[in-house]
């Protein structure tokens, strides 16, 4: 295949531009080197695109939060401040790397590395476009969660090795929170596995192809899918330590939690890991509930599939920024109560509902039954949580009104 043919086939199918280019480049290499080149060409885009997205998100987040709080946000570096991430990166690189004298040097050094590597690995199973997945594993979803599990360990390493009470407190909070919210996260993803009958992420996207009238055939438009999506989103927010579940960081009480004692580039690595984790789990939510790279409306199919993935991902990022600008931080007991007394029962009920959905005849009845069960469970659980905790609109003893 020469370059002309390549351009021709790309023009025929612009959706596959990256896939065709990769095949073309790999074809130029000798037979023995081809698998290695293929792997490298799959990894390189992941390593460049998502950290780039991280840079974009930091500036978006700071600007958006600023506007929500009626501030300007960063606007000095470059036009409208868009070069701020570059400045931040340079600052992080040239800053002094302070390691506490009492710290466990080796573990302290390894923690930021351990936090970033698994997160990057988890991108391997995310289908970002048609035929665009680094490895199509048979147990892709399991791989994602298995790799994600090591984040907790990295957090512990960071918190423990710093020999700082705030770090250790932050690490303990983070681990407690991650373990508690990992259960609803996995359980809410299981509904999709039940519907698809596979753990492979590509088959999940394939199962959501097509349209029901003008409505896309996504799982979020089913009762259990909608509930599962919201539960997954909440658990994902907690898993990636985002506000309102950011008590492991808790700037106002334990300074920055487990990375108090980190500075310079290691600190930047923690942030990179956190944001990459957020993108990965958002990507998984897109794959599970929002139809992956499928277009939302039939007449928009001409836009390349990978565009849709990133458009959806940007929507998630905006949503997370919006949530962060809106909600205050939860207290530790509220956090645990919410996970174990509200989310866990609801995810279990959701699994049952997904089973009912599977065995009822398609039609309005199925819709009504499933939606009614979920709504009743939601209201009862929420009311129960409220009643049990004696929660009521707060009265301020010393306030005027």
């Amino acid at each position: 295949m020469d370059i002309g043919q390549l351009i021709n086939s790309i023009l025929n199918d612009p959706d596959q531009v990256f896939v065709l280019t990769k095949a073309f480049v790999v074809g130029k290499f000798p037979e023995g080197a081809q698998p290695l080149v293929s792997i490298l060409l799959s990894i390189l885009p992941i390593l460049s695109v998502f950290p780039g997205l991280f840079a974009l998100t930091t500036i978006l987040e700071r600007k958006g939060l600023g506007r929500i709080q009626n501030r300007m946000g960063p606007n000095r570096v470059g036009p409208f401040g868009i070069l701020q991430p570059v400045a931040d990166g340079i600052k992080a690189l040239i800053k002094e790397d302070v390691v506490p004298r009492a710290a466990d040097k080796v573990v302290h050094f390894l923690a930021p590395v351990v936090i970033v590597i698994p997160v990057i690995m988890s991108y391997a199973v995310l289908p970002v476009g048609r035929n665009m997945v680094a490895i199509d594993l048979d147990a892709g979803l399991l791989f994602f969660f298995a790799v994600g599990a090591s984040t907790e360990l990295a957090v512990f390493m960071a918190g423990w090795s710093s020999r700082n009470k705030y770090s250790l407190l932050g690490a303990m909070r983070a681990i407690g929170q991650m373990i508690s919210y990992e259960i609803p996260l996995i359980l809410s993803a299981i509904t999709v596995v039940m519907a698809v009958g596979s753990l492979s992420t590509t088959s999940m996207v394939d199962a959501q192809a097509g349209y029901y009238g003008w409505l896309p055939n996504w799982y979020v438009f089913t009762p259990w899918g909608f509930a599962g999506f919201l539960l997954f989103l909440t658990a994902a927010t907690a898993e990636s330590n985002r506000s309102p579940f950011d008590i492991p960081e808790g700037e106002s009480e334990i300074i920055a939690g487990y990375f108090v004692e980190y500075s310079g580039f290691k600190f930047a690595l923690f942030f990179l890991g956190e944001y990459l984790g957020l993108f990965a789990v958002s990507g998984l939510a897109i794959t599970l509930f929002l139809g992956g790279w499928h277009a939302p409306l039939p007449f928009l199919e001409w836009i390349p599939s990978w565009c849709w993935f990133f458009v959806k991902l940007m929507c998630f990022i905006v949503l997370f920024i919006w949530l962060r600008g809106t909600l205050p931080r939860l207290r530790q007991d509220q956090l645990m109560n919410f996970a174990w007394k509200f989310m866990l029962p609801l995810t279990l009920i959701n699994i049952v509902v997904a089973g009912i959905w599977r065995f009822l005849e398609p039609g309005m009845l199925r819709w009504a039954v499933c939606a009614a069960i979920l709504a009743a469970a939601y209201v009862l659980l929420a009311r129960g949580l409220t009643a049990a905790r004696g929660v009521a609109p707060r009265e301020y003893r010393y306030a005027e009104n």
Partner: protein, 209 residues
Amino acid sequence: MLGEGILKGMVETARNFAGSYVSKDRLTTVEYPEERIAPKENARQFPFLVFDGNDPMAGLRCVACQICEKECPPKCIYIEKSKDKKPDFVGKMQFYPATFDIDVSVCMSCQICVEVCPFDAIKMDQEYELSNDDRFGGLLLNKTRLAKSNEYYGKMHPQEAGAIDESRLKTKEAAEAKVKADAEAKVKAAAEAKAKEAQPPTAPPNKGA
């Protein structure tokens, strides 16, 4: 408790977000180095020394009584008394500070020095752009850097400064009147003494009585 509060909050923040682009007066912050918000009258940063007249060193109100040095909680004031004395605004002979240093990196802006000063010589400044690349020397303010005119103080706190000026004027007038009276009395006494002297001591007027 069904999550409607979250939605309400999100609508509110969205309104703020959009509003900050539409109306300028929503933005509570200003672009600092180019724009500044004038400090409020009660704003206080670090102390300074008030002087009267045109010569900062000659007009300092401070008499080196060292009360502020003793009262300062973080001990950021250092005063050395002068060996000689010079007249103050009422003409009384007073010491003056040979050295008066304030380490503003230690100062906690508590204003106790101002409260205890009996001479209205030390007041709180509103100057806040003190950052400096000289870590030690740059934040140790000496007498020359601390001295600021009474007019400057008057501009910051017109009412207080006016009251102080008035009372000082009264004191001064009283003192002058006293000096005058003293002088008159002295003159009188001197005249009397002269008169006494003029009369022969051997013949007092009512010696016989």
